[in-house]
């Protein structure tokens, strides 16, 4: 009996313990809500991108069907005068204008940007880095219109004095516009490539130094190849900025649709055409209006192709490390 009592006593103690609650104390509406808010924010950017592409494509379609401009005429025509009479819609001159300013810009910015990145990542002391890197990043944030003005009133006269062949029609020149674009994208290349190279594990550097490599060999044969995917990504971003740059070319490159890669010549780029044409007094549905979108679509296709090309390059040359 005694034993039973004891058991009973324990049992009653057990019953006195508060029940364990396994259900949620509240429905947690906040958690559900925030999930939808976050998803909506993510979807918004997808939606805008889609909307931009659609709004580009519809007038572009009109351009080729309603306005009756042939695709061949547009892509391979060598005369660009969409607002003149008789109008001609050969996009080559402004396509080449864009390629020319971007090319000169990249020719200037890629070597300098990469050299700066190698210095920042492999040579600079922590103190030097601490000073230089923020300055570079500030440079990347300067409004492009300021760089355009700088190119127009400072760079262009300077270069005209030193290399007269670079500026045929003062103060406008594709080469100077390219140089100004180059100045603008050097910090992008330097900063992003530096990040990519610094993320290469220190063990790889140590291994190379341990084999008797100089700093130069470590940088070029180990760190640079190991960081190549990040470096290419930085170049693509810089290239996209160069192709898409509007303000600098509008101010510095002049506005003559010359089909030439001559850096001294004045050129009209695709973005500059859009920038100078898309003003308030353009009537919706007119051929000029549709032209803007056709050029915009082409610009979009070029940057898309550039990105796809870059992804393939990255896949091909990437060195995967753990």
């Amino acid at each position: 009996m005694e034993a039973r009592d004891t058991i009973g006593a324990f049992g009653s103690v057990d019953e006195a313990r508060p029940a364990t609650i396994l259900e949620a104390p509240s429905p947690r509406y906040g958690e559900k809500l925030i999930k939808w808010v976050l998803a909506a924010c993510a979807l918004l950017s997808v939606l805008t991108t889609t909307a931009i592409v659609v709004s580009l494509l519809v007038p572009t379609f009109d351009f080729f069907t309603r306005d009756g401009v042939g695709l061949g005429e547009f892509l391979f025509g060598t005369g660009w005068a969409p607002t003149f009479q008789p109008a001609s819609f050969g996009v080559l001159p402004i396509l080449v204008g864009t390629l020319s300013t971007s090319l000169w810009g990249m020719l200037f910015a890629v070597p300098i940007g990469l050299a700066a990145a190698v210095w920042l990542s492999e040579y600079a002391s922590p103190r030097q880095r601490k000073v230089v890197k923020p300055v570079l990043e500030v440079l990347a944030g300067i409004p492009t219109v300021a760089i355009g003005i700088f190119g127009l009133v400072f760079l262009s006269p300077l270069i005209e004095d030193v290399f007269p062949f670079m500026v045929n029609v003062p103060p406008f020149s594709a080469g100077v516009a390219g140089l100004a674009i180059g100045l603008m994208i050097v910090p992008i290349i330097a900063s992003l490539s530096d990040d990519a190279m610094r993320s290469v594990p220190g063990g790889l550097r140590e291994a190379a130094y341990g084999l008797g490599s100089t700093r130069m060999k470590v940088s070029t044969r180990v760190v640079f190849p190991a960081a190549i995917s990040g470096i290419i990504a930085s170049l693509v971003l810089a290239g996209s900025r160069a192709v898409g740059e509007t303000m600098v070319v509008l101010l510095v490159a002049g506005a003559s649709p010359n089909l030439t890669f001559d850096p001294g010549s004045s050129v009209l780029t695709m973005t500059a055409f859009i920038g100078q044409t898309a003003t308030g007094d353009i009537s919706t549905g007119s051929i000029t209006y549709d032209t803007i979108f056709a050029v915009g679509s082409l610009l979009f296709v070029i940057t898309l192709a550039l990105n796809l090309f870059a992804i393939r390059m990255v896949r091909k040359y990437r060195e995967v490390y753990e």
Binding site: S125, P126, P201, G203, L204, R205, E206, A207, A208, Y209, G210, L211, G212, S213, T214, K217, R221, V222, P225, A226, E319, V320, Y321, E322
Partner: protein, 309 residues
């Protein structure tokens, strides 16, 4: 810590100053006692061991990071065609000391090295000495296998190419054979090195070091990331390699030091009186057998027998 010599019965004929020094003021470690005298102590009967060629003569070396000492006043001779092990608890500065031997510490801008290190009689830190040249002669294998993200062949060929050696292909094969890796990889030299197992990767790193024909190989806990079988392979390899090279190995694993090394240096973490700074200190350096069976210093005995650490 704090073992008084009286706690070590059965140790006769040994001066016990070492144990006492330990409990005294820290500025005593500037004095040339402690461990240092042990090396040159002539009271030994195997004299010929001490007349071997030295590779390194480390004389009163102190290494500081940002002015704080990491290892203080180490003096020891490292001999040719031997495996010399550095053991001791974490933070005792054994890796720091190892990295002085091929001037790897130069890469850390806050590091400074005082004292003198002679490499085959020449001052390793002399003004005219080129660290790049030093590292060609004194190769290094690291704790974590760190192959380059390249093919197996390119990993081995890297050093010879960078240095500008000829017959790269021959050297690659020779290095892989020496590292006992050739048979495993000869059919997949173009595969990426990251496809290998951890143990293979570490042997690849050893082969990569061998390919530039160094005189000394420094190994910084080369087996700490490996399983026992891979570790055994690398230990076997060390035994073979010491015929041609001199090896200095840092290890956490005392059994490993006992198995592979000819001589062992035991380092310890010292604290100053206020315990706000700590540094590594060489306690004892002797033949490995002696360190593990009959050490002179009670702290060494406590460590190797597992009483502390």
């Amino acid at each position: 810590m704090g073992n008084s010599p009286t706690e070590q019965p059965g140790r006769t004929g040994r001066p016990n100053e070492d144990g006492q020094l330990h409990s005294e003021k820290p500025n005593d470690d500037r004095s040339p006692a402690q461990g240092i005298s042990v090396i040159r102590e002539p009271a030994r009967n195997d004299d010929d061991a001490w007349t071997k060629d030295t590779v390194f003569e480390v004389k009163g070396v102190t290494v500081c990071y940002s002015g704080k000492p990491a290892v203080k006043n180490v003096t020891m001779d490292i001999f040719r065609n031997e495996v010399t092990a550095l053991i001791g608890p974490s933070g005792c500065g054994k890796s720091t000391l190892l990295r002085c031997l091929n001037r790897m510490n130069d890469l850390i801008s806050s590091a400074s090295v005082d004292g003198e290190i002679l490499y085959r009689g020449q001052d390793l830190y002399g003004t005219k000495v080129d660290p790049v040249q030093v590292r060609k002669l004194v190769g290094m294998v690291f704790q974590k296998p760190n192959p380059f993200p390249k093919s197996i062949y390119d990993n081995i060929a890297f050093g010879p190419r960078v240095i500008g050696m000829d017959n790269v292909e021959e050297r690659v094969e020779k290095a892989l054979r020496r590292a006992a890796l050739w048979d495993e990889v000869k059919d997949r030299l173009d595969d990426n090195a990251y496809g290998m197992s951890g143990g293979q990767q570490q042997r690849l790193c050893i082969a990569r070091t061998l390919a530039v024909e160094p005189e000394v190989i420094l190994m910084d806990e080369p087996c700490s990331a490996l399983d026992p079988i891979s570790t055994g392979r690398i230990e076997d390899l060390m035994a073979e390699l010491k015929e041609d090279f001199s090896i200095v190995i840092v290890t956490h694993n005392m059994q490993q030091a006992a198995r592979v090394s000819d001589r062992t240096a035991f380092l310890i973490v010292e604290l100053d009186a206020t315990e706000d700074s700590r540094w590594g200190q060489l306690v004892e350096y002797d033949e490995t057998g002696r360190i593990f069976t009959n050490p002179r210093d009670s702290r060494t005995e406590d460590y190797v027998t597992g009483k502390v650490g």
